[in-house]
């Protein structure tokens, strides 16, 4: 089930929320767990068992690590947890990719498995791993209640597209969480805003990209090609950050505080900054469980560069089983290393504007690798961006005019301007400002919700990009 659907908004959500708020406190985790299983099983009636298996295994591993604390066996159970999680992930996500690679290297015809990717597997395996690792390190207490642990893994708001919630983030709230009217209200507002980002911005601007990406790249002007990749950049950002907003909002309504996942990534003035603002929960996961254990920046520059290389290769391949994703990771590793070596200082001297232009170019080029699969397509697209088929054509002018206002709206929504304005209004003491704020904070989320419903009903076009991961 996806949030931006009639089914979720007018079947699942009202029924679930009524049950959740009506039932007494001790029943809440049960209904959340049970509801989440239905939410997941709706689209994945078989793979829900895989998720339950993963839940149970790490519950057990956690208990065993605690039981044998200080002994060798504890390490054994930690390794078991990591191996099981990674094997499950590799088997379902990378098996065919590996087989394909093996085939093209050796020329042997090994059959592909053609398994569909279980939804959210990249997210929940990372979450359960964070748990066992933290229990082993003594940073999290072991969870003895299987139901509470089940809620942590399967909780529907962040189950299928993150943010990747670490166990320590929600440890407390799993068994004891308070909900205030303010939290529910702000959760609802956040949900509506996230919905609008996904339905009104991402889906509409995604149309532009899907039109351009379906064209023959040999015949599109530079204008068209740039429009296309900018559209993709906005689509993926609003799609993913909208989904995170909805997850965070839903969590807030129930008393959970999920970590923030995006912080206006497109205003970054360096690639280093971009990765501090983009998909933050994934970045901090890799930092905490891979980069720092490998020595981070504490073992000298060469080692640090090597660590960056490894982490961003993993980050790339996490996004999908394909060489283009690996290359996408390497592309960023290269610029991150350059920034560590000298570029960072140069950029600082050059000023923020130069930095933003540089970062935008690197990120947009990155999206070309990310969004197109074959090297021929990628190369063809870059050629078009460099004006291989002319700088401007009617096609590009038409599409540019057609999407101009939407693109302008996207640019504004991708910067902190609106957020700052709201904050100013909120803190202002002047009566007119207070009235505007008080009315606006109700009317705007409501209108966004209603317009999103119109968008959802209208669209047979409702693909959710992050399902692949």
């Amino acid at each position: 089930m996806v949030f931006s659907s009639v089914l979720f908004l007018f079947r699942f959500l009202p029924i679930f929320m009524i049950c959740y708020f009506v039932l007494p406190k001790r029943m809440k985790n049960f209904i959340l767990f049970f509801g989440s299983l239905i939410f997941y099983a709706w689209g994945e009636p078989i793979y829900v068992l895989l998720m339950l298996f993963s839940t149970f295994v790490d519950y057990f591993n956690g208990r065993m690590i605690e039981k044998f604390r200080g002994k060798k066996a504890a390490t054994g159970f930690l390794i078991a947890s990591v191996i099981i999680n990674l094997s499950v992930l590799c088997f379902f996500k990378y098996a065919d990719f590996l087989v394909q690679t093996f085939r093209s290297v050796t020329g042997l015809s090994v059959p592909l498995m053609k398994l569909p990717l279980p939804i959210g597997i990249s997210f929940y395996t990372f979450q359960t791993m964070s748990y066992t690792i933290d229990v082993y390190r003594g940073e999290a207490k072991v969870q003895k209640n299987l139901l509470d642990f089940g809620v942590f893994v399967t909780m529907f708001p962040q189950l299928i597209a993150g943010p990747i919630v670490k166990y320590v983030d929600v440890e407390e709230s799993l068994h004891d969480r308070k909900v205030s009217l303010e939290a529910v209200s702000s959760g609802m507002q956040r949900f509506c805003i996230g919905m609008a980002k996904k339905v009104l911005l991402a889906n509409n601007i995604g149309e532009l990209w899907s039109r351009i990406s379906a064209m023959d790249f040999g015949g599109i002007s530079a204008l068209t090609a740039w429009l296309g990749i900018v559209a993709f950049a906005f689509q993926i950002y609003f799609d993913f950050s909208g989904y995170s907003d909805m997850a965070i909002g839903l969590g807030e309504m129930m008393g959970f505080r999920f970590p923030e996942n995006f912080n206006y990534p497109y205003i970054s003035a360096s690639v280093t900054e971009f990765w501090r603002r983009w998909h933050i929960s994934l970045g901090s996961w890799f930092r905490e469980y891979v980069y720092i254990p490998m020595g981070g920046n504490r073992k000298g520059l060469p080692r640090q560069l090597f660590n960056i290389l490894i982490v961003w290769m993993l980050t790339g391949i996490w996004h999908g089983a394909g060489w283009n994703f690996l290359f996408w990771g390497l592309w960023f590793a290269f610029f991150l290393s350059m920034e560590k070596l000298f570029l960072g200082k140069v950029l600082q001297k050059a000023g923020r504007a130069v930095g933003i232009v540089y970062d935008t170019l690197v990120v947009l080029a990155g999206w070309v690798f990310f969004s197109l699969e074959s090297p021929a397509q990628i190369l063809g697209y870059f050629r078009a961006m460099f004006g291989n088929a002319g700088p401007v054509d009617d096609q590009g002018l038409f599409l540019g005019r057609e999407y101009l206002f939407l693109l302008m709206a996207a640019v504004v929504a991708a910067t902190p301007l609106a957020g700052r304005l709201v904050k100013k209004l909120k803190e202002s003491q002047a009566t007119p400002c207070r009235v505007v704020y008080c009315v606006g904070e109700k009317l705007i989320p409501m209108s966004l919700l209603l317009l999103s419903i119109a968008g959802i009903v209208d669209a047979s076009y409702n693909p959710f990009l992050y399902f692949r991961f």
């Binding site: 007018f10 009217l181 209200s185 609802m188 939407l406 209208d458």
Partner: protein, 372 residues
């Protein structure tokens, strides 16, 4: 309660109300079988069995069902279209929002590949060589009403395409409609809300046809409106309230006695079926909507027969041909699966009758197809 809490409560109540009211309303409205605006059957409640649930069939079908039957579905779609218009979009669902309230269907150049064009021309040429068929391919509104298109709109260039058709079939067999319609592009030759040409447009086509055939065109004058309530297929595509079109016909065409046999069974004595004027599909007024085969017998003594192979553009055109023939057979290949040669032989050998191929360029490229 503190002020902040009251504020929060209002927000909670308002947003919950939106969800709850719509949920309840959705449960209370009856399921519809068919959507007229979308012109398709809507998904119905799927049958539940454990087996279908585990196969993953049930959940998907249920979701389609809920979305298709959602309360006030058409209104929501209109809201979305309205939002697109506010955002200055000029193309919605494959329809250009042209100047003067003209909705113009979009046909992108890349959809009509060289391969497709060659295939269709080859088929066409066989009819021309064998039967001496005359070819009349009508350009669509996007090529003629170019002044009304939004700036920089891409469209498949039918002028260049028609040049090729002319070369392929020979100038003697080609009837040029493009030039005629271009001359009259300021008049109401296409509907504003539908993809067809109007009776006026068809009349210009008729005059061009008569000139090419070397006959005197009948001077039709009495153009009469039969409805002012027509909202056509293009309006359905954008699903917004729009200024309605009129449908007209030439009264002279109804004064001659005719016998019509639809699909070899249904008989009629008029080319115009008024019953459609009270439905959505008002263009069906002409020739009783679409039939595989229509046989029209007139009381003239011309000794001539015409065999028309056509799409729906011909429906408002054919009545004007009445004075020129004793018999007119109208074939719509989309609804006929038999062999074309066999059928044509029923009406006359090659050379004994006139043959006319009448399509708009787009339908021709998309749908012209027959078994010899």
């Amino acid at each position: 309660m503190k002020k902040g809490q009251i504020n929060a409560l209002i927000t909670i109540v308002l947003i919950s109300l939106i969800i709850l009211i719509l949920t309840v309303a959705d449960f209370c409205t009856k399921d519809r079988l068919f959507s007229e605006t979308e012109n398709r059957m809507l998904a119905q409640k799927p049958e539940f069995t454990m087996e279908r649930l585990f196969k993953g069939e049930y959940t998907g079908e249920y979701e389609t069902y809920v979305t298709d039957q959602f309360v006030a579905r058409d209104r929501w779609i209109a809201i979305k279209t309205g939002l697109d218009i506010v955002m200055q979009k000029k193309e919605i669902g494959g329809v250009y929002l042209g100047a003067d309230g003209y909705l113009i269907e979009q046909h992108l150049p890349q959809e009509y590949t060289e391969e497709k064009i060659q295939k269709k021309l080859k088929l066409l040429n066989r009819l021309v060589t064998k039967y001496g068929a005359k070819v009349m391919l009508v350009p669509t509104a996007d090529n003629i009403l170019t002044d009304k298109l939004p700036a920089f709109s891409p469209y498949f260039d039918q002028k260049a395409f028609l040049e090729r058709v002319k070369k392929e079939v020979g100038a003697g067999n080609y009837i040029d409609i493009y030039a005629t319609l271009s001359e009259h592009s300021e008049e109401e030759i296409y509907y504003r809300t539908d993809h067809h040409w109007t009776t006026l447009g068809a009349n210009y086509g008729y005059i061009a046809w008569a000139q090419a055939m070397g006959v005197e065109p009948y001077p039709y004058k009495d153009m009469t409106s039969v409805t002012d309530e027509f909202l056509g297929t293009l309006q359905s595509k954008i699903n917004m309230p729009w200024k309605k079109d009129s449908i007209t016909y030439f009264r002279e065409t109804a004064q001659w006695p005719v016998t019509i046999i639809y699909d070899m069974e249904k008989e009629a004595d008029t080319l115009y079926e008024e019953k459609y004027l009270s439905t959505k599909n008002k263009y069906a007024y002409f020739l009783d909507d679409n039939h595989a085969l229509i046989e029209i017998t007139t009381g003239n003594n011309t000794g001539k027969t015409l065999f028309v192979i056509k799409d729906s553009y011909a429906n408002c055109f054919v009545p004007m041909l009445l004075p020129h023939y004793d018999k007119i057979c109208v074939l719509d290949l989309r609804y006929y699966n038999g062999r074309l040669r066999w059928l044509m032989n029923q009406y006359g050998k090659p050379g004994e009758m006139d043959v006319l191929v009448l399509y708009n360029c787009i339908h021709f490229l998309d749908e012209f197809q027959y078994m010899e």
